[in-house]
């Protein structure tokens, strides 16, 4: 039961992340939603490792999560740096202003 509920939680977090990316106007909020999605995926992998039959696969899963967390942090860092650069130029307070692809 527990594992199933936790799996449910992971899917719920992912769905919230998607909704956040689509709805939110501030780029910061969009990043947070992306981070949410990433964590949901991590949760799923951890749950899977716990259930795995072979120890090799399980440890592979945990190793992957280890690296993924670090990757997520690096991604956030770079993204925020980009955002800061955009803010300095005067653009990027709201994603609604980014209409360069129009037409």
């Amino acid at each position: 039961m527990t594992l199933g509920l936790l799996q449910l939680l992971a899917f719920w977090m992912f769905a919230c992340g998607v909704a956040g990316v689509v709805i939110r106007r501030s780029p910061l909020a969009v990043f947070m939603s992306i981070e949410l999605m990433l964590n949901a995926a991590n949760l799923l992998i951890v749950l899977g490792s716990g259930n795995a039959g072979m120890e090799a696969a399980a440890s592979a899963g945990l190793a992957a999560v280890f690296i993924l967390i670090a990757l997520g942090a690096a991604e956030v860092a770079v993204g925020l740096a980009v955002m800061m650069a955009m803010f300095r130029e005067g653009k990027g307070a709201s994603l609604d202003q980014a209409t360069g692809l129009k037409g």
Partner: protein
């Protein structure tokens, strides 16, 4: 290498080189290169002649297989040349006359801004004509046939900026095409049933498939003659030749007097075995020839344009040649072809000289009194006219006499044909000397800007050479009682016996009639046209309706325009608006329009808002997820 091969390819080389270097060569360089190419080809033709003489008379027919060309089913075709007395004579005539005309053109075409291209085209023509006569199978013959048609189109329309010349070139090509349609069908018939297009194969196999006297043999022969009618301007496909006079005069001299138009006669002689399988076809040929001879002769009487008179004269003389073919006297036809090449091209060159002197004037009623200022031209022209009319002892006399006598002896309608031939001869005398007197005799009818003079040397000497030939070439085949006929004997291996099996006095009687016809024609011309044509003005008043008919060439062109050309244009117009514009253009533009409209609509989906794009991706992902679920649950198990 075999001289014949050199004679064939030298002019082609000349054409290619001149065309390639047209911009870089000085004009005189181009002319010299082209003339040298043809001159060398002529020398090679003499070499080939002596080579042929070294063989025994029976062993003079050779097939030279150069290389294989293609294999279509069971029909194998190679680049095959037939070298026998018939093609040898044609080769010498073509290259010789072409050489003289090249010399003439060096001077005549001087100053033209497309001067080098003229020589390139002339060379190409010589190559095409030589290919035609040297071909050893029907495919090469047809290739040469079409090529000369192309060169004719190019050369008639050489001054393409003038609409008259351009449309004349087109007319020549189109009318030729009509004849060629028959020719192509004949070739296909042969290829399909005989499995070979080589002369040897066809002539050997034809009697077994196209049985003598059968309908298929008749059809084959008539289709071949159809091609000949187009190329040699026989009624009713004669209409292109007078209009072809819009081209430069050397072109008229070479192509429309001496060589291309004689290709039809050559074809008839070459395909003699095929025509003999259908005797009825020979009747047809003879009657078409005789009719055309008289028909064209009458038209020539009323023409004002000097070159047109000569053009109709050519049509008429070609008719006589076909008359000879039709009565089985192929040798006589070739002999007349031979002599006609000389005096007709001479007459054209003379006309060119007159035009050159008068600044392009062609209307004979505006000429007159040119005998004294243009002495050289006058004497050469007179020689040509005498030969054309058949004055005794000239070349034309002997060749025409051959034909008339053969017609006289032919069965069953020989006498009728003979009478038509005589009438044509009388007409020839009449119109040719009408031309002579109107152009050279009497006093000038129109005030002239400056004093006319004889043309420069390069134009005079070819004329002189042709004049000499016109007078003496006839001695190559004297009437049979003299037993001197090297020309006829030379052609025997190909064309069969050329002797006239005649009762002893018959030939002299026929000759007398021929001379009488000549005198009648010339005498009438003398009476009507000397001294500024006062007599003809008196007589002409009463003959006005007849004159209108003749002047308008029996309205043949107008009939064609009404019956053929206008309906074709109307149909083409309807097809263009109905099928082309409504169908294809609409389809193409409609497709483009649809694409444009759909893309304009599609563009509206690109809003530029990231949120919209993210939503689209999310919706897509959602759709995929659903799909995966459905597949996993219901499709896979």
């Amino acid at each position: 290498m075999h001289p014949v091969i050199a004679a064939l390819f030298l002019p082609l080389l000349g054409a290619v080189l001149v065309r390639a270097g047209a911009v870089r060569l000085v004009p005189s360089g181009a002319a010299r290169l082209a003339t040298a190419a043809v001159g060398l080809a002529h020398l090679f033709s003499w070499a080939a002649f002596f080579l042929m003489l070294s063989y025994a008379p029976g062993g003079r027919i050779h097939d030279l297989d150069l290389f294989p060309l293609m294999q279509i089913g069971e029909v194998g075709i190679s680049f095959l040349l037939r070298w026998d007395p018939l093609s040898q004579i044609m080769l010498m005539v073509v290259t010789g006359v072409a050489f003289l005309i090249h010399l003439y053109s060096v001077s005549y075409m001087e100053g033209d801004d497309r001067y080098p291209y003229f020589f390139a085209d002339l060379n190409l023509f010589v190559f095409s004509m030589v290919l035609l006569v040297l071909a050893g199978n029907f495919l090469l013959l047809f290739a040469g046939w079409e090529l000369v048609g192309l060169c004719s189109y190019l050369l008639i329309g050489f001054w393409g900026a003038q609409p008259v010349a351009a449309s004349a070139g087109l007319k020549a090509f189109v009318v030729n095409r009509i004849g060629d349609a028959g020719f192509i069908i004949a070739i296909l018939m042969m290829a399909g049933t005989l499995g070979s297009l080589d002369y040897t194969g066809v002539f050997a196999g034809a009697p077994h498939v196209f049985l003598r006297g059968s309908g298929s043999a008749l059809l084959l022969a008539l289709l071949l003659f159809c091609g000949a009618m187009g190329k040699s301007a026989q009624f009713p496909l004669h209409v292109w030749l007078p209009d072809a006079m819009a081209g430069p005069t050397p072109v008229s001299a070479l192509i429309h007097a001496a060589t291309m138009v004689t290709a039809g006669v050559y074809l008839a002689c070459r395909c003699q075995p095929l025509f003999e399988l259908a005797p009825a076809s020979l009747y047809f040929v003879a009657w078409v020839g005789a009719f055309t001879a008289v028909f064209a002769g009458t038209i020539a009487l009323a023409q004002r344009d000097l070159k047109r008179i000569l053009a109709y004269s050519t049509v008429s003389q070609l008719g006589l040649m076909f008359l000879a073919v039709g009565v089985g006297a192929h040798g006589a036809a070739m002999f007349h072809l031979f002599t006609h090449a000389f005096f007709k091209s001479l007459l054209f060159l003379g006309a060119g000289a007159v035009m050159h002197a008068l600044g392009g004037e062609l209307d004979v009623w505006k000429m007159g009194g040119l005998a004294r200022p243009l002495k050289w031209t006058f004497w050469c022209f007179l020689a040509g006219a005498l030969a054309l009319a058949g004055a005794p002892l000239t070349a034309g006399f002997f060749s025409k006499d051959c034909i008339l006598f053969a017609a006289f002896m032919a069965q069953p309608n020989g006498r009728a044909l003979w009478l038509m031939g005589l009438a044509a001869s009388a007409l020839t005398g009449l119109y040719s000397f009408r031309a002579v007197w109107l152009v050279f005799g009497g006093t000038p009818r129109v005030k002239r800007a400056h004093e006319p003079h004889d043309p420069p040397a390069l134009m005079r000497w070819p004329m002189a050479a042709l004049a000499v030939l016109s007078l003496v070439a006839g001695f190559l085949w004297l009437p049979s009682w003299t037993h001197f006929g090297p020309f006829g004997r030379f052609l025997e291996p190909v064309l069969g016996l050329s002797g006239h099996y005649a009762p002893p006095r018959a030939e002299e009687a026929a000759m007398a009639f021929a001379v009488a016809a000549f005198l009648a024609g010339v005498g009438a011309a003398w009476g009507l046209y000397r001294r500024g044509a006062q007599t003809v003005k008196l007589v002409g008043g009463r003959l006005k309706p007849l004159h209108r008919v003749l002047f308008n060439k029996y309205w043949v062109d107008e009939v064609y325009r009404a019956l053929v050309v206008k309906p074709l244009f109307r149909t083409a117009g309807r097809m263009e608006s109905g099928i082309d514009r409504a169908g294809f253009d609409e389809a193409a533009e409609g497709t483009a329009g649809t694409a444009l409209e759909s893309s304009t609509e599609g563009r509206k989906w690109q809003t530029g808002h990231t949120g919209h794009y993210a939503l689209a991706m999310a919706l897509g992902a959602a759709g995929l997820a659903v799909l995966v679920y459905l597949v996993q649950t219901w499709v896979l198990p």
